[in-house]
């Protein structure tokens, strides 16, 4: 048995968590949006720029060799972190959205009218819009999984409607919902996709930072995620794809380093992953992401997942005591990630967010880039609190206190129609 998880020690690694906002300590509950960064990640990026900076692959001098070793070292570490069989399967992108666009663009090259792409209604816009664009380009049809009342993928309705069938060529589903927190049965959906010969793509933006990741266990052919939600810097994302699949796909962006031989009459292209990495890559960001992965690996992804599970269960229980608060998505911490979306009766999410912010509590209000899901749930928008490896029970208490204050603030003022001015 390993050491108990020491959240106070973890917090000391994140200088920003010491900030105070007016009279209140910062209560950062927006990690599903972006995570905070431990000092060592920032230091690693600074050290790269100050001591090892050069372009990769094409620079033949000592610094070039150091930068290349650091960049490719990050690739190997990421492959190991997600259980990828080969380092060549890790393609760097600028974020998860670009990774999903890369997947949609290259996978749809072979599609045409009559072919079907399947997503779900709970997807982030970045796992909807690239596929809509692919359908517009190719004439393929976009279909989607609905959700149950509890906010889980409606597998029964999908089976009844023949959602995944012989026309299905791609299935692209989120591992963990950024709104509902739902952890989807990705391996089961992947088996359904593979049974009809479709490619299975997984949006791991919320899953990879929160849960131990194994591409084999997920059963997918492609996995997209981003660095900045996993304690790494912004500006770097990853598309993992099985080598066989990547090798069969056309390039995405054209440019330097993605080629084999360029002639004015035509070009041939590099093997994966370089075929998909045109131009100078996010080198310092790869160094930062590598350090972030070292950091979370040292804490233990299983420990991080357990900590989040514990906090999510506590938050769900405490938040449901707030008058007029409705949780969107599963209300028990079973197959559920650390993002909790909610509405507060009679108070618009923007106003909730503003009141919470005045007490140092940072959450998100709006669509969370998932408007179709909000339409499906029949709510205009919502608030979202999300926890991560540095979140404490005391912060959940501060959230709940601030929500009570918000309810009282607006309840008192909005309930009295025609009151004295």
């Amino acid at each position: 048995m390993s050491e108990p998880y020491d959240v106070e020690a973890v917090r000391r690694d994140f200088p920003i968590l010491e900030r105070r906002l007016g009279a209140y300590p910062l209560t950062y509950l927006d990690s599903a949006n972006t995570s905070q960064k431990p000092r060592r990640v920032v230091d690693a990026i600074a050290d790269h720029y100050l001591a090892h900076n050069a372009n990769v692959a094409r620079a033949m001098h000592v610094l070039g060799a150091e930068a290349t070793a650091a960049f490719e070292g990050a690739r190997v570490a990421i492959a190991d972190f997600i259980g990828a069989p080969r380092w060549e399967e890790v393609v760097f992108t600028k974020n998860a959205s670009e990774a999903l666009n890369l997947a949609a663009h290259t996978l749809s090259a072979a599609l045409g009218p009559g072919d079907e792409i399947v997503v779900s209604v709970m997807e982030h816009h970045s796992n909807i819009v690239p596929w809509q664009l692919a359908c517009e380009r190719t004439g393929a049809t976009l279909r989607w999984f609905d959700i149950t009342e509890e906010g889980r993928l409606d597998l029964e309705a999908a089976a009844r409607d023949g959602l995944i069938n012989e026309r299905t060529k791609v299935v692209s589903i989120t591992w963990v919902s950024n709104v509902l927190g739902t952890v989807n049965p990705v391996a089961q959906v992947a088996a359904m996709a593979h049974a009809v010969g479709a490619v299975m793509v997984v949006d791991g933006s919320q899953g990879v930072p929160q849960l131990p990741t194994s591409v084999a266990a997920l059963g997918c052919d492609m996995l997209a995620f981003t660095g900045h939600k996993i304690c790494g810097p912004t500006g770097i994302g990853v598309l993992w794809g099985s080598y066989q699949l990547l090798d069969s796909l056309p390039p995405f962006l054209g440019g330097g380093e993605m080629i084999e031989v360029v002639k004015m009459t035509g070009s041939t292209f590099a093997p994966p992953p370089y075929r998909f990495e045109a131009g100078t890559q996010p080198i310092a960001q790869a160094v930062g992401l590598h350090e972030a992965i070292r950091y979370v690996s040292a804490l233990g992804m299983d420990q991080i997942a357990a900590h989040e599970q514990d906090l999510t269960a506590y938050a769900l229980a405490e938040m449901q005591k707030v008058q007029g608060l409705r949780i969107l998505g599963p209300t028990e911490a079973v197959d559920r990630g650390g993002a909790i979306s909610f509405t507060l009766d009679g108070v618009h999410p923007h106003d909730v967010m503003q009141l919470l912010d005045s007490r140092g509590v940072a959450i998100r209000g709006g669509h969370h880039c998932a408007r179709p899901l909000h339409d499906r749930l029949g709510v205009q928008s919502s608030c979202r609190a999300s926890v991560y490896l540095y979140t404490t029970h005391a912060e959940i208490d501060r959230l709940v206190e601030a929500l009570d204050y918000t309810g009282a603030f607006f309840g008192g003022r909005l309930a009295t129609t025609g009151g004295v001015r």
Partner: protein
């Protein structure tokens, strides 16, 4: 600037009881404006007759700031000339983007002065502007179509 100062009683009052709310016929132009980051949506209609804005009707979903601002705007704009409405837009926009350094003439802007606090909260500027941007768009369209006809 405290959050209590942001949520002035006048703002909450307009949020509670929205003036001129609902979509009415007849109208000259209808516009639909959204704030994609937060999902606020507004459908707004204007009617112009004999050189005056005779009606502004609307249906909206959104936060207290955007709803109240739209409500206040209709009270200021209805009955005046389109040119006056566009002047009010300019004045309100200057104030709201003035980071608290620009104040409004209460004799002209009436309840809209309550939004001076919003200028200190950059994230809410778009909320306060939603109704104003929509009415400006609608009035400019009315003017454009009048020009085409003449």
């Amino acid at each position: 600037m405290s959050v209590e100062q942001l949520y002035q009683e006048i703002i909450l009052d307009h949020y509670r009881v929205k003036r001129n709310a609902g979509l009415r016929e007849p109208y000259d132009v209808e516009v639909h404006h959204v704030n994609p980051s937060c999902g606020d949506e507004l459908t707004l209609r204007v009617t112009v007759a004999d050189g005056a804005v005779t009606d502004v009707s609307y249906e909206a979903v959104g936060c207290s700031i955007s709803q109240a601002s739209t409500s206040v705007m209709t009270e200021l704009v209805i009955g005046g000339s389109p040119a006056h409405a566009l002047e009010l837009y300019d004045g309100f926009q200057k104030m709201i983007q003035g980071q608290g350094k620009v104040s409004l003439d209460e004799a002209v802007f009436e309840d809209a002065v309550a939004f001076e606090g919003v200028a200190q909260f950059p994230a809410r500027v778009k909320c306060a502007m939603l109704g104003w941007s929509a009415v400006r768009d609608a009035l400019l369209r009315v003017q454009a179509s009048a020009k085409e006809e003449s």
